[in-house]
């Protein structure tokens, strides 16, 4: 049994899951776009099928599609799964789109325990709620942090626990904002705004 190419993997996946689309990223990397509702059944089959045998989750990450140049405008958050098979030596990338407002994706931590930490990180930084994760806590930022920093519309904090974020005379550069919108400079905590808050 040798490693399967992406086209061969696609063929087998399509035979059972016609809703899964094969796509290429901007730099030519092929991936499968999976509907969130079919993710769990698909990865269970990918892991258990004798010819595929994806026994390792190499990476689980995510990104914000907002303002992503070569993608049609979308308000979704993407979650990326990189699977690898130590038995068959082939790999596969899956992507799941989750709408920004109700950002819920089923957890795969029951299949690959490595996903426990990955999913906590994606939850912390992008705000994707992984349904079924046993302890979905923040992993990088403090537990009482407000917002998810890697979202493109994240508003920078002006203070944390009463300590102002910026020094006198400092201001944020490239404050995240939507295209066409005015700069959102509203401080998250009105009690003690930083002295050098960005101009409104």
């Amino acid at each position: 049994m040798s490693a399967l190419s992406f086209a061969e993997l696609c063929e087998r996946v399509h035979a059972r899951w016609p809703a899964v689309e094969a796509k290429r990223s901007d730099n030519g990397q092929p991936f499968l776009l999976v509907p969130a509702t079919e993710l769990v059944a698909l990865v269970q089959w990918l892991r258990s099928d004798r010819e595929l045998r994806f026994d390792a989750l190499s990476d689980l990450t995510g990104y914000d599609l907002m303002k992503y140049p070569a993608t049609p405008p979308s308000d979704a958050i993407a979650v990326v799964y990189v699977l690898f098979s130590y038995v068959q030596k082939h790999k596969l990338m899956l992507r799941v789109l989750a709408p920004r407002a109700a950002c819920v994706v089923p957890s795969v931590s029951f299949l690959w325990p490595a996903a426990l930490y990955f999913e906590r990180e994606v939850w912390d930084l992008l705000g994707v709620h992984f349904d079924g994760h046993p302890t979905l806590l923040r992993i990088m930022t403090p537990q009482d942090w407000v917002g998810h920093p890697l979202r493109k519309d994240y508003i920078y904090p002006s203070e944390y626990h009463g300590v102002p974020h910026l020094r006198e005379g400092q201001h944020f550069e490239h404050v995240p904002q939507r295209e066409g919108d005015a700069v959102k400079a509203a401080p998250t905590a009105p009690a003690a705004p930083a002295k050098g808050a960005p101009p409104a």
């Binding site: 990088m140 930022t141 403090p142 920093p149 994240y154 920078y156 904090p157 944390y160 626990h161 300590v163 102002p164 974020h165 910026l166 020094r167 400092q170 201001h171 944020f172 550069e173 490239h174």
Partner: protein, 206 residues
Amino acid sequence: MTDDPMMNALPGSTKQKAGNQLDEQIHLTAVDEFLAWGKENSLFYLLFATACCGIELMQAGGPRYDLDRLGMIPRATPRQSDLMIIAGTITHKMAERVRLIYQQMTEPRWVVSMGSCANSGGPFSKWSYSVLNGIDKYIPVDIYIPGCPPRPEALIDGVYALRERVRRYRTLGVRETVPHIVASADAAFGCHFGKGGSKQPEEPKA
């Protein structure tokens, strides 16, 4: 009269005339000055570093720069440390831990802020949501050392500035609270030992 240079260096020691065996063993000084002399020459620093400044801190503690010769020995617990060198980027999350460690140190305690990140946020100050722009928002800082990261010479320069401060510390009196900033040109180019270094910025001639 002893030949021990360390004992002769005791501040305010009254030199006794030779000839009396007992006097050779006796040095007279003020208690406060004696305690300050002891503190100055045994500044144990906390083993604590959060970023690349820590590499320079390790270099300064290594055999080439050898902080040991100043009586500075790294301690792995804040309970035994006199000095905390904030070497590296401090995030909001870390800053509360830093304050906890600082509070665990026994008085008198000193803090050296090493490098741009600990001083003011450095390269992260305008673009980061999580980095604290200056550790002095959480704990009082005695010495600021500019540089990104400062060379070991700059750190040693800061240590000498701190030793001046420790020498003036009075157990029964008031300690200085105004922070000292190491001269940036000296610290950045590491030419503070002796004047007239080749990289010393020249004074513009009027």
